[in-house]
């Protein structure tokens, strides 16, 4: 028999025989229903998982944004009167995300007072906001002169920005006068030690021996290069972080070599007590806001003779935090020039 005829005969037999056909249709329907149910549950589960994954991704993104928020503050707290504090300075967003500052906290650590104020400062990437004059933030806070203050900002993402301590040195804004930056702020920009320029003096003809008298101070900026001189200046510790500073031996007052000199003169830091030179190990502690006299020499400034020379006070030692942590500290104080004859 030809294959074509055989196929035709088989098809005819199948279509003409209805036995079992309903079972096949029923089975097909059952399978369809099962597939439909399973696929529905599967797709639904998948959508739930997608929802969860989205939440995880959003959460991670929020955390990432939060950690990438970069806001730099340079602010100070000034006392206005017994009941008000003024926060001045700048807020700069140097991150790549815009930021919103929502709260400012101010704490008077001395009197255990604190307060907060709501803010709505939007900082676009690269933006800088100045808080000064009419834009300064005033916070009601009972305080007294020389109280220790802290302030910090809270961003909408939950970051705490710039917790710094300040000492209220004086009533700068008392009576509505001109706003004067506190010393701590000024010295914070150039170092912790501020020099009293007007206190500079020198002592002439001081013998470099233990117990020798330094004599009387001479206020002026001309010294002789053929006699032993000692230099003196008064400095104050205005450290921004209330650290105690220790100035150690090796610190000096030096003349930087310049044209006309091969090597500069230098005056090593020295201990002078009750008008007498005390030789030996040098350690000078300077507590926060404490003013101390620093003496250097005696030295014969022969190399600088005949020149007007720049002087640099090179101070080295340690800064000690209130919790006892110590770190190296070094500062260079310029500003004084001498005519060495």
């Amino acid at each position: 028999m030809l294959p074509r005829l055989r196929l035709k005969k088989t098809r005819r037999r199948l279509t003409s025989n209805s036995k079992g056909f309903s079972s096949i249709v029923g089975a097909v329907f059952a399978v369809l229903v099962m597939i439909s149910l399973i696929s529905t549950v599967f797709v639904w589960s998948l959508s739930q998982n997608t929802q969860y994954n989205n939440a995880v991704r959003q959460s991670n993104l929020a955390d990432l944004d939060r950690s990438n928020e970069r806001i730099q503050t340079n602010v100070t707290c000034n006392r206005i009167n017994d009941s008000w504090i003024s926060v001045n300075g700048t807020l700069e967003n140097y991150g790549s995300l815009s930021a919103q500052i929502v709260t400012l906290w101010v704490v008077d650590a001395t009197n255990k007072n604190y307060n907060h104020t709501a803010l709505n400062i939007i900082l676009l990437p690269g933006n800088k906001t100045t808080l000064s004059g009419s834009t300064a933030i005033n916070v009601a806070l009972n305080n007294q002169a020389e109280d220790s203050l802290s302030c910090w900002f809270i961003s909408a993402r939950g970051n705490t920005i710039s917790e710094k301590s300040f000492l209220i040195i004086n009533n700068y804004n008392e009576g509505g006068g001109n706003e004067v930056p506190p010393y701590a702020f000024v010295s914070g920009g150039i170092g912790s030690i501020a020099m009293d320029f007007s206190s500079f003096s020198h002592y002439d003809n001081v013998a470099p021996a233990n117990g020798s008298s330094v004599g009387s101070p001479v206020y002026g900026y001309t010294i002789s290069g053929i006699i032993n001189t000692m230099l003196h200046v008064k400095v104050t510790n205005y450290d921004l972080y209330n650290r105690t500073l220790t100035i150690t031996g090796g610190s000096m007052w030096a003349v930087t070599p310049f044209s006309g000199t091969i090597k500069g003169d230098q005056w090593s830091i020295a201990n002078v007590t009750n008008g007498k030179l005390i030789t030996g190990t040098y350690n000078q502690f300077i507590n926060h806001t404490q003013a101390v006299d620093l003496y250097f020499g005696p030295t014969q400034a022969s190399r600088s003779a005949g020149n007007i020379v720049p002087l640099f006070i090179l101070l080295y030692g340690q800064a000690t935090y209130e919790n006892g942590t110590k770190i190296d500290y070094g500062q260079n104080l310029p500003f004084i020039a001498l005519n060495v004859t």
């Binding site: 149910l37 549950v41 639904w44 589960s45 739930q48 998982n49 929802q51 969860y52 939440a55 995880v56 959003q58 959460s59 929020a62 939060r66 929502v102 709260t103 906290w105 704490v107 255990k112 604190y114 907060h116 709501a118 809270i154 909408a156 993402r157 939950g158 970051n159 705490t160």
Partner: protein, 160 residues
């Protein structure tokens, strides 16, 4: 034709087989529907449970709380904790607070203006106060853990 029908009705042969088939089909259909209803009900319960679990997990993921300031008044033995809901979901309530491993259940939460609230909305700030027992020693660092109503925990350390 009418004779054929008459013969069919009169014939008693195979009646029992037809009836049994009908009963069998009815039983199968009934059981089938019962099974379908049961499976749908189970599927629905599973869906609900899974949906709730996923929602709970995602809500918990979105919760963030940051401590703005913690102040301990030794004289009054009062610990005040200022915090902000920095997450992307509201309804952040405080279920438990642990200070020095001592638990304080559901402290009264207030907004910064003093209004009592059960939870914090997104970006909202608030505070709660507790009286630690025993009182805290001064000059120490104390850990504090807050557990939210959704089960998230946030940790901070403060100096007394």
């Amino acid at each position: 034709m009418s004779q054929s029908l008459l013969r069919l009705f009169k014939s008693k042969r195979a009646v029992s087989a037809v009836i049994s088939n009908i009963i069998l089909i009815a039983a199968v259909i009934t059981v089938g529907f019962v099974m379908l209803a049961w499976s749908q009900s189970q599927s629905s319960i599973y869906n609900n449970q899974y949906s709730n679990a996923i929602k709970s997990d995602t809500d918990q993921l979105r919760e963030r709380a940051v401590f703005e300031y913690i102040y301990y008044d030794k004289t009054a033995n009062n610990l005040t904790v200022y915090l902000m809901n920095s997450g992307t979901i509201g309804g952040v309530s405080i279920a438990n607070v642990y200070v020095n491993n001592t638990s304080y259940a559901a402290p009264t939460l207030r907004l910064l203006n003093g209004t009592q609230t059960s939870s914090l909305k997104a970006t909202q700030e608030g505070y709660f106060s507790i009286s630690p027992s025993p009182s805290l020693a001064l000059g120490k660092n104390c850990p504090i853990i807050i557990v939210t109503g959704r089960g998230s925990s946030f940790v901070a350390t403060f100096a007394t």
